[in-house]
């Protein structure tokens, strides 16, 4: 029944016009397709890597050194180099990042312009291309007045600067999550600011901070571009012996093998990728475990 003055006839309740229903279903399908793109690509990628490299997942991969003969080549120097470089990065980057986060959250007055500038700066640094950090390292640390050369220390310092924003941002969130009542309770008892921070705030925020650090180090493990500029690509057939050693890391070794024309090296690369992904999986799984086991619901 239509009402006067040109109003469209109202459909019976419960009866969505077909046109709308079709459009709605189509839209929903498109959205699901969007999700599918990511999921399918991930599955294809993992399948490709495993299928190609699975055969070469043997002791030789881990215990041999690189060689021009693909049948005997292995990635021991790269694995050792990764442990050295990323381990040192953790030692340098975590204290500085957590310290900066504590300063910004607990000491700095957020109304001052210079503190807001520091915040903007950190957010920007988180988005700077990683190769620019390589240029920074090249200009200041490897050559230039740092003069360290293409060594482990230069690589670790460069990676520290790269992942520092991640540590700072996630540590700040962890500190912010601790309720103010804990701070007030400690201060009201006559604790100084640092006593409150070191004895109550930091211990309460440790799970969140640890998760953030693991994420930052995961990023550092997978980085190749900045280290390419720092000389990680030379043919390294020994494990690093100190901070002043030449080095290579797993992502660069993988790149090295990808660049070779022979198919056997592609297989090697795929196998090394499996090792790298397994390492990352272990780290992320531990971050998730930490988060679920220790994170407090305030």
């Amino acid at each position: 029944m239509s009402v006067a003055s040109g109003l469209p006839s109202s459909p019976a309740l419960g009866d969505q016009p077909d046109r709308d229903r079709v459009k709605g279903a189509l839209f929903r399908a498109l959205l699901l397709l969007s999700l599918a793109v990511g999921v399918v690509t991930l599955i294809a990628l993992l399948a490709q890597v495993v299928l190609k490299g699975g055969s070469r997942l043997n002791e030789a991969l881990i215990f041999h050194f690189p060689s021009s003969d693909p049948d005997v080549a292995g990635a021991q120097s790269a694995i050792a180099g990764t442990i050295w470089v990323v381990g040192l990065t953790a030692l340098i980057c975590i204290p500085i990042g957590v310290g900066a986060a504590i300063y910004l959250e607990e000491y700095a007055d957020p109304e001052r312009w210079w503190n807001r500038l520091i915040e903007l700066n950190i957010q920007n640094l988180a988005a700077v291309p990683s190769i620019v950090y390589g240029i920074l390292g090249l200009g200041f640390l490897v050559r230039g007045f740092g003069g360290l050369g293409q060594v482990v220390l230069a690589a670790s310092l460069t990676l520290t600067l790269l992942v520092l924003p991640i540590v700072i941002i996630s540590a700040r969130e962890a500190l912010r999550a601790v309720p103010n009542s804990i701070r007030e309770a400690a201060l009201a008892l006559g604790a100084t600011r640092w006593q409150m921070i070191s004895r109550q705030l930091l211990p309460a925020a440790v799970p969140g901070i640890a998760t953030g650090c693991i994420l930052a180090l995961s990023r550092a493990i997978g980085e190749a571009a900045p280290l390419v500029l720092l000389g990680g690509l030379t043919f390294i057939t020994f494990n690093p012996s100190g901070l002043n050693s030449a080095f290579t890391v797993l992502p660069i070794q993988i790149f090295n093998w990808i660049s070779r024309p022979q198919e056997e090296f592609r297989v090697l690369a795929a196998a090394a990728i499996i090792v790298l992904l397994a390492l990352l999986l272990a780290m992320n799984a531990s971050a998730i475990y930490l988060r679920n086991r220790f994170e407090r619901k305030w």
Partner: protein
């Protein structure tokens, strides 16, 4: 120095009581928990002496021109409707307002004769002597033992820590309940136990004064009663200032009461708290001088 610094208006109160105020909203009956004589306050020294204290946030006064003398080893209640600045006033007594950016203080807060806001005064030292218990119990996410021991440890108190913890828990009327589970996490306790834990934690650093900011408002009546009993025991050694929006509680526990009310400024935008009346609790509740006090304690206004 027991001075009569309360701001009183003159004469109206009694008259309005006689002039046929409705019987149903008559003066509140004092249902005191114990029969503690109140007259002692006139002879005890003042632990706090507030002179024209004004506390502002970002330039807007939250409380203005407060002049009170708070007595030692008494329970003084600060009462009034919500938003009148009671907590702000309380927090100024141990410099907790320092933690709020934009908070400024003018006037004096004399503690045993020393102005807490004079230059050179260290807020950390102030808080060692003037402790605070908060509205919502806020134990640390640690064991009962570590909660109590935190204060003595950071203050470097000498002595056997086990004894210090036991003494604090006994004074806080919690020892019997927790003596077998000192290592257990404080978060596992009930709300009332947590608040008594917070009180014991405050006692562990051996303060002179205990400030309590609506300590029972988040608790059930049974826990509330236990804490009120505890307050009577604590009064022997400590001076207590309690903020409460529960009039009956003020009537039950306190020896003296200060009634604050909120005033709008000329533009009607900002609310500022002022002291209306400050007297013995008994007088305040049975025979208030100011009609605003009478209206509040008889429940005519919230």
């Amino acid at each position: 120095m027991a001075q009569e610094n309360s701001e009183r208006t003159n004469g109206i109160g009694r008259a309005s009581l006689e002039r046929g105020a409705p019987a149903a909203s008559g003066p509140i009956r004092l249902n005191r928990r114990h029969d503690h004589p109140v007259a002692e306050w006139r002879n005890s020294e003042a632990v706090f002496d507030l002179n024209r204290l004004t506390i502002s946030y970002d330039g807007v006064p939250a409380v203005r021109d407060i002049s009170l003398a708070l007595g030692a080893r008494l329970i003084t209640a600060i009462i009034g409707p919500s938003g009148c600045g009671k907590s702000t006033l309380l927090r100024s007594l141990n410099r907790m307002n320092d933690l709020i950016p934009g908070a400024t203080v003018s006037g004096e807060v004399l503690y045993h004769g020393q102005d807490l806001y004079a230059p050179g005064i260290d807020p950390v030292e102030v808080r060692k002597r003037i402790g605070m218990v908060f509205q919502k119990p806020n134990p640390f996410p640690k064991s009962v033992y570590d909660n109590i021991a935190f204060g003595p440890r950071v203050l470097g108190m000498k002595g056997n820590m086990d004894e210090i913890v036991e003494r604090a828990l006994r004074r806080g009327a919690l020892w019997d309940e927790v003596k077998d589970r000192l290592p257990s996490n404080a978060f596992g306790m009930s709300g009332g136990q947590q608040q008594r834990l917070c009180i014991a934690r405050c006692l562990a650093v051996e303060p002179d004064v205990i400030l309590m900011d609506e300590p029972c408002s988040a608790l059930d009546p049974v826990s509330t009663a236990r804490i009120e009993d505890l307050m009577f025991e604590l009064k022997e050694r400590y001076s207590i200032v309690i903020v409460t929006h529960n009039m009956q509680q003020a009537a039950r526990v306190s020896d003296r009461a200060a009634f604050l009310t909120v005033e709008l400024d000329e533009q009607g935008k900002h609310r500022t708290g002022r002291v209306v009346e400050y007297d013995d609790t008994e007088t305040m509740f049975t025979n208030p001088s100011d009609e605003r006090t009478e209206a509040y304690v008889t429940g005519k206004v919230g």
